[in-house]
């Protein structure tokens, strides 16, 4: 089932001679259980693409269809409750974990659940399940500062999964980790996509980390470019 479809998406900053075309004619499709990578060097528009998909930034043109509903057309957001959609249907993973430093690992995962008003017992059970799934239950009551980088990232992933998000957006999730830990995180994401049927888009510049991804998009100067062969053997789209 298709979770996200992006058609002809563009984003232009400024106007006149200051105009910058950050994204141009972006087409993208992700289904549940799919793991998609967007590869590109710094400044290619990867993060802008994530911001547009996650309803944080207004695109300049194009269409976004999310979970079967057109949420953005050329005239703007189609009456969608942006914040509600973000907290109920989209999970975020960041390069620097971005855990709330004054909340324990357990509370960080609990936060999205409390934002949607989950019952306490249900939420606590869900948090326990997720922390066990991420093999970090024994660190549940530790503050982020007392966790290693890999542990923090696993807590961040658990937080992204808390509300059973249909779409998970990961911005350079391995950038702050060494290769071994980075590889483990990517394995985890693959497992999540397969087992939990979440659609996952990972933005990265590290080609070593996208082994086994279903689709890889190459972004250059705000456009997807076709490549003869995917760097890891994955299907390459343009």
């Amino acid at each position: 089932m298709e979770i996200l479809r992006v058609e002809g998406l563009s984003k232009i900053y400024g106007s006149g001679h200051l105009e910058v075309r950050a994204l141009e004619d972006i087409n993208l499709s992700v289904s549940d259980g799919e793991l998609v990578a967007v590869l590109g060097p710094s400044g290619s528009g990867k993060t802008t693409l994530l911001l547009c998909i996650s309803l944080i930034l207004d695109p300049t043109g194009g269409t976004i269809i999310f979970d079967g509903r057109s949420i953005f057309q050329k005239d703007g957001w189609t009456g969608v409750d942006i914040r509600r959609m973000r907290r109920e249907k989209i999970g975020f993973i960041f390069q620097s974990h971005n855990l709330i430093p004054f909340l324990t690992a357990r509370q960080n995962v609990l936060l999205p659940l409390s934002l949607v008003g989950s019952k306490k017992e249900v939420a606590e059970g869900r948090v326990r399940e997720l922390l066990e799934y991420m093999e970090i239950a024994d660190r549940a009551d530790f503050l982020p500062a007392l966790l290693s980088g890999g542990e923090q990232q696993r807590v961040a992933i658990a937080r992204a999964l808390a509300n059973d998000a249909k779409l998970i957006l990961a911005d350079e999730p391995t950038a702050a980790l060494d290769t071994a830990r980075g590889t483990r995180v990517m394995e985890l994401l693959r497992r999540i996509a397969k087992e939990r049927r979440a659609a996952i888009i990972v933005v990265t510049h590290d080609v070593r980390m996208i082994e086994g991804f279903d689709h890889v998009y190459h972004l250059k100067d705000g456009r997807f470019v076709r490549e003869a062969e995917g760097p890891t053997g994955a299907a390459v789209r343009a």
Partner: protein, 398 residues
Amino acid sequence: MDLAANDLRLHRGRFMATVVGVGLLFTIVLAMNGLYRGNIQEGLALIRSVNPDLWVVERYRGGPFNEQSTMPEAYHYNVKAISGVERASPFIYYAVERQVKGRNRHFSIVGFDIFEGVGGPQKIYAGRNIARAHYEMVAHPKLGVKVGDVVTLGLHDYTVVGLTKEAVSTDGEALVWLSLPDAQEVLYQKDNEEIRAQRESLLRDLDKQTYLSQGQAEKLSASLPPDTHIINAVLVRLTPGADHAEAAGEIKNWLYLSAFTTGEEVQLMLQGRLSSMSKQLLLFRTLLLIISVVVLSLVVYTFTMEKIRSIAVMKLIGAPNGVVIRMVLEESLLLTIAAFLLGVLIIQNTYQLFPRTILRVPADDIVTFLIAVAGGIFASILGLWEALKTEPALALGT
């Protein structure tokens, strides 16, 4: 989940330091509230304690407390002759500094007619009231004396026969009650040597008068003793049913004196002598409250700016503004309330150590608390402003 409490728990060192700092500021504010109340209470204590129907003082004067008023003692006979006056009692009040039990003490003396009774202490908690016309005194314990002690004032010794906490002087110092002639003597009776010097001076002046012989001048100078029969006010009790305004009007018109009811006397003090102190204290309290709010603002702003990225993350994962507002506001209010409670705790345990009376009034605490809470809300505005304008995109580092 209480985000603010969790944040403050992580930063408990800074939280405690802020609470102590602002708490001490609140202590001073609360102390000044009490000082203001104490200033009023002490300033009016004697007026309220004496509480005659009318205070008769020198014409055009607002005496005897708000400003000086003097008149011949015999005037109280004139006042008594006014219709509606049941009792008219001479009264004298003045501040002195004397040695009491080897220490310099600043206190005020009240002289009253012990037979008329008006103006004397009503509630003696140790010993008895003055019963003899001379050489007995009733004192406030602030003077540092006890019943049976002997205190030398001027030329004579006075025995402490009773103690009362009924009133203090308008400056918050101890009060000493003496019989009227004793009080007049302490105030006006000069040292014998000084009397001799004055007589000689008078004799030299009289010698210059050609119509007086040497013998006449000597007799005259010796027969002019210093006049001690001066009073500050006449305290009036009216007959039941007598009209205060009417009696006061007659005294003003016929005796060329001023007459005030106790209520008017209170107003004279509030609008005169006590008002500048009250304004001063109000200004200090306002300044301290402003300083407290500024300190709280800076702390809340710093707390907010330190977690601006966390706020961006919260917004990114869909937290409504209400969650962010609640967190910032709650931190500000927790700081304010904790600091205020510390202030109350400190002042409640130390107010008796202050040299001036700190009168604790629950209503003052409640009003100050409400102002502090309003200040705490105001203090969070800067932090809220920064928090609300934070873009969720900041979480992604853009």
